[in-house]
Symmetry: none
Amino acid sequence: MSEPTAPAPTTGAAPGAGAVGAGRFHRPTLRSLGLPPGKLARLKRLLYAHGPGGGTLLVLPIDQGLEHGPVDFFANPDSLDPRYQYELARDGRFSAIALHIGLAEKYFHEYAGEVPLILKLNGKTGIPPDAQAFSSLTGTVEDAVRLGADAVGYTVYVGSPAQDRDFRQLVDVRRDADRFGLPLIVWAYPRGEAVAKKGGRESLYAVDYAARVALELGADIVKVNYPVPSEKDAESPPPYNTLRLDPEAAFRKVVQSAGRALVLVSGGEKVSDAELLAKVRTTMHAGATGIIFGRNMWQRPRDDALRLTRELHAIFREYAQPP
Amino acid sequence: MSEPTAPAPTTGAAPGAGAVGAGRFHRPTLRSLGLPPGKLARLKRLLYAHGPGGGTLLVLPIDQGLEHGPVDFFANPDSLDPRYQYELARDGRFSAIALHIGLAEKYFHEYAGEVPLILKLNGKTGIPPDAQAFSSLTGTVEDAVRLGADAVGYTVYVGSPAQDRDFRQLVDVRRDADRFGLPLIVWAYPRGEAVAKKGGRESLYAVDYAARVALELGADIVKVNYPVPSEKDAESPPPYNTLRLDPEAAFRKVVQSAGRALVLVSGGEKVSDAELLAKVRTTMHAGATGIIFGRNMWQRPRDDALRLTRELHAIFREYAQPP
Amino acid sequence: MSEPTAPAPTTGAAPGAGAVGAGRFHRPTLRSLGLPPGKLARLKRLLYAHGPGGGTLLVLPIDQGLEHGPVDFFANPDSLDPRYQYELARDGRFSAIALHIGLAEKYFHEYAGEVPLILKLNGKTGIPPDAQAFSSLTGTVEDAVRLGADAVGYTVYVGSPAQDRDFRQLVDVRRDADRFGLPLIVWAYPRGEAVAKKGGRESLYAVDYAARVALELGADIVKVNYPVPSEKDAESPPPYNTLRLDPEAAFRKVVQSAGRALVLVSGGEKVSDAELLAKVRTTMHAGATGIIFGRNMWQRPRDDALRLTRELHAIFREYAQPP
Amino acid sequence: MSEPTAPAPTTGAAPGAGAVGAGRFHRPTLRSLGLPPGKLARLKRLLYAHGPGGGTLLVLPIDQGLEHGPVDFFANPDSLDPRYQYELARDGRFSAIALHIGLAEKYFHEYAGEVPLILKLNGKTGIPPDAQAFSSLTGTVEDAVRLGADAVGYTVYVGSPAQDRDFRQLVDVRRDADRFGLPLIVWAYPRGEAVAKKGGRESLYAVDYAARVALELGADIVKVNYPVPSEKDAESPPPYNTLRLDPEAAFRKVVQSAGRALVLVSGGEKVSDAELLAKVRTTMHAGATGIIFGRNMWQRPRDDALRLTRELHAIFREYAQPP
Amino acid sequence: MSEPTAPAPTTGAAPGAGAVGAGRFHRPTLRSLGLPPGKLARLKRLLYAHGPGGGTLLVLPIDQGLEHGPVDFFANPDSLDPRYQYELARDGRFSAIALHIGLAEKYFHEYAGEVPLILKLNGKTGIPPDAQAFSSLTGTVEDAVRLGADAVGYTVYVGSPAQDRDFRQLVDVRRDADRFGLPLIVWAYPRGEAVAKKGGRESLYAVDYAARVALELGADIVKVNYPVPSEKDAESPPPYNTLRLDPEAAFRKVVQSAGRALVLVSGGEKVSDAELLAKVRTTMHAGATGIIFGRNMWQRPRDDALRLTRELHAIFREYAQPP
């Protein structure tokens, strides 16, 4: 009973751990997940044979051109060319790059075999408002197989008025992922007008709920945002409205709700190096499997980004564990 | 023709029965249901080979993480880890555990062959309001077959403005359940703005109607809530607006409306031991096949929960009947 | 590396073992087989929840009416009525009964939930000669699911000139069994004119080869006959033509060739009780998972057969092992 | 890294270039696109064997009868007969003609082999308002194959409230285009009430976003309109609200956002010859692959139109590049 | 046109090359093959990320239990357990292991992510005679995808009277391999009574013809045996009946006939170390991409086999080339 829930004693071999406070929370081992051979083979590739290894994940997403538009590329004009991100993923030894069908079909052939591919299967533009958020398909699991991808990604908007269509669409994706042995990564995002009334999409209530929904719907890995405390938490259902957890405890709560779905945390907007590294350390200490940082990576100049990834690799090595 | 509807004389061998009042109402025998061999084989497994046996059902549901969010797990932090419920189901000798695809794929492999599985096939989060309640698919009957489940569960929101989509979605599930020989358990819940105007979702009018709808749409087993008398009953259509039935009589009415769909009653929020046991005795006396108690089980500490299940087993034994 | 190949030391707790000679050979554990949850759930039902349990199998086949014709029922006229075998399986607590679609559709509903069903999916009559032996389908995996069977059976005639059609037919059965999570039991029988020229169908060469073929083609369980030494062994390819193994060593060789396919041994023609029990003990000691005895069971009068099954249960208990 | 993003030095051989100002921006080569052989063979037909060649595209669209109604044909009554456009395409040596299934099935047989065909696969009338713009299918990729078309066209309304259905519909078209090896040309048009609130459909923000969406969704070629600066740009998200780019720089920005999707620019309403030729030169200089001019072509008298195409051919020759 | 056929000058950096004689013949680069991204990604994994790398292949096949029977395992009894081969492949850093569905489903889960998998899709036993040789399917390309295999293998018996069925069966496999982006490795074996009359299955005529057939039918990689000169060559059609080529020249001829299908050579029966290493050097010098040695590997004791693979790695390093 104790494997993912009980904190293991912090060992002397994890020097960074002491800096964060309470005991390290161990993520589930790959072996405990009951995965079929295809998912296992592909996850071991991502978690052990590429990137920082040791069962961790460092993913570079480049779907912002669809989700936000080219606006995100102004900060670093080189980043407008998708090869910038592919090369950053390759040279910075990321575990994988995550993107939509068009960037896969037009560019992946140059990096195939060097950078593992996560094909993102649904998306939307940021132009219409989010009240009824729903991302429709942009590709299929079979596209992912055909292109040699090692996993698929799907965004579910938890709590959106359109969540019924979303869950239904996800069933087919999940079944195809099961059929073809591809790991399923669920971007679990609280969204929509009802979420806004219960503390908002960054509340612990919403993020914690989203993590659990991903687990229950069959995610192998769930991508969540950090819960961010705010005054709006008072509108969340009890006991969330009165909970006062420090950032690490809050995130550990989310990791526990995700159970045997491994947890990736997204970076959001660009922050300073120090903030970013502290965030990563806290995250890993709280039981995350890794991070999926986009703008925080490719909005930096190449050399700056590569230097930062080396520091991330160093942190990740402290959290290596066998399969 | 009189077999399931006529009350049989209370026998001296059913000591508990006397305590409840009017004559015991006998549930339909398995043989009378006209089931094809696959459904029969699987139902006998649930009703006779596991759990309390004797044709009864004691089901542990763990879909609250999806339906309500992790909020339900605060009462007993151990319950956040799905293994807590699996182990409670195994050690408390439940007839089955009921849950969604994610908790099946990630955890069932450790308990396969020890705890029968009911795969819940649709659900939703509790975040958006219930006025247009609809639960979309989270899994399929074929998933249930593949995982070795012994039955499938489907929630229909009787009376919801979305019931047209719901009925249509249920047809496919019911047909697949027929095709593969899996018993179909319908969670029949009155919901939506129109129900609210006719006495509410706990009114006898609504619960009775929901039970009948499940029978008519092809349920093998129907899960209902207890009808709860209230002032709002006056808004129900006649003669419900003036009916005055004691709890057992009201529930017996529901059982009769369900006809040859076996009846499971849900527990709802956690209550005291004495209340719970009295409720169960009444229920069984009124012709239920069993209960499906979640929070009333796994929100208790493990030893407490196990002690309670032993008491439930004892009650159920009084209501044993041959197939 | 040692799990199925290395003999474990004979323990004092296995009294029968000492009587047979060399060390007991341990069969693979269920956990080591990498089975998906559906196969696991169903195999645990057959191996632990029914029959002698402890990971063993005692199967009653009744496909002789198709394979040999009613001729086999003369020895015990009661056996002509399939209920005789069903009731023998139920009252003798067999792990399962194995038969074709017709005997399932017409009789199983009376025993569903009491006797697990193995649906045999292909067969032929014994009327044409065996030189080009091939058994075509009589049912499908989906029939098995629909009827609530816990496994499917398929006969492959290894070495037959028709083996190309046979392998091809088996692919579809195996894929459906994978898709639906049903364990696949392969009756691996050497047959045909080419087999006859290389030592014959009972030679160790042929039986050993057949066991390996079943493993390579995806059997979860392989049913083999006992290898029977004869002068024709000299026609087998080297080194089989000069091998001199005692019956247990020869059978252990077959079990090793089957690897992680569990081994069932068939009984063949009726023999004396003493012979039969000795055979079973040798078989289990050599690493078999169980036996599938038809004529040796139901050609006996009911009481005689039931007495024998009790003795078999006693032997099997000595070879119990955890999953 | 330098191929599509870095401007190549203006060579003396491109005399027109000097007239436009900043350095010429080179479009991607066909070889760099990672196209499968079928797409490559068909694109080389359009880009090199027909029309102006040298990797450029001069496309004549005639879908205005559906999109706007016969109103567009009043300016030149001859243009009401589709043969007018077919013959203009043939005699003016266009790279292809683009139209819907009806104009293909009824007229193409007379020009097959002389004028390459782009089958437009979705459309709508201009009668309902555009607030929820969505174009449903009028044909299929298989129709295009059957008719001998060399590419297919699909309109996506970026930012429309119906973009979820649009993206979903496009997935099937894109997959079929991949399956059959047909190049996919996406008409990427910003539309809908949300676009209107962020600078409007001709804003650089909107056009730039649309180009990127087409790339991410798998377009081989994207058709965009010219961004037109206006006071409404102030309502676009930053930094678009304060960007001040000359027309060529703005268009080059769009070409860069389209990445490895080749860019076609549409003509819109009829303008003077001088304006049109200047626009084309700027367009090609900024990295476009070609133009798709309808009304600006077939609303002119035939001789006038043919004279103009000869001038376009001359300009295009300046921008020839090898595959 | 000269890329794969023209011999490149032997460089001083390839010391072993000088020992073999005529100039080294360069195999095609991966980039020249026109592969879609999925095949490219998977082949780069096999050719660069695992095994000796540098574009070479060292494959361990374990299908002899099906093709020859357990007889091949007597030479090294440990080899009867498939884990022996899996561990040899892992510890000897082979590029991949090649085997049938049963050995994949039952054992691969323990080695997933460590040893790349080639799923062999057809086979037969060695019991019937080879005059009408045909291998029917044992698995499918979709099985390979599901299990996480990186390539599929198919045996075609060139020249067999059954080659019509064989070619037809191969079409479906090849199409699925194209659809899912899996590299197709064709075991191209001359077989059957007609081959026997034209010099036999080891003649240069037959091997050379088989290599070309694999290329023409769509193989990405072709596995051939060495041509072995004999007196029967006189029965081959001219000019093969009078050709006198040394072994390297003969093999180079075969490599040239295979064109852009990369060539693997099989080892056949076990030979001495010196013979084997010389053979490998000749093979690589003549333009092979690698070797697929089974019995020559796993019939050796583990330490002996590992020592030999280290020597093979050293040779392969001399023939490394970029993608």
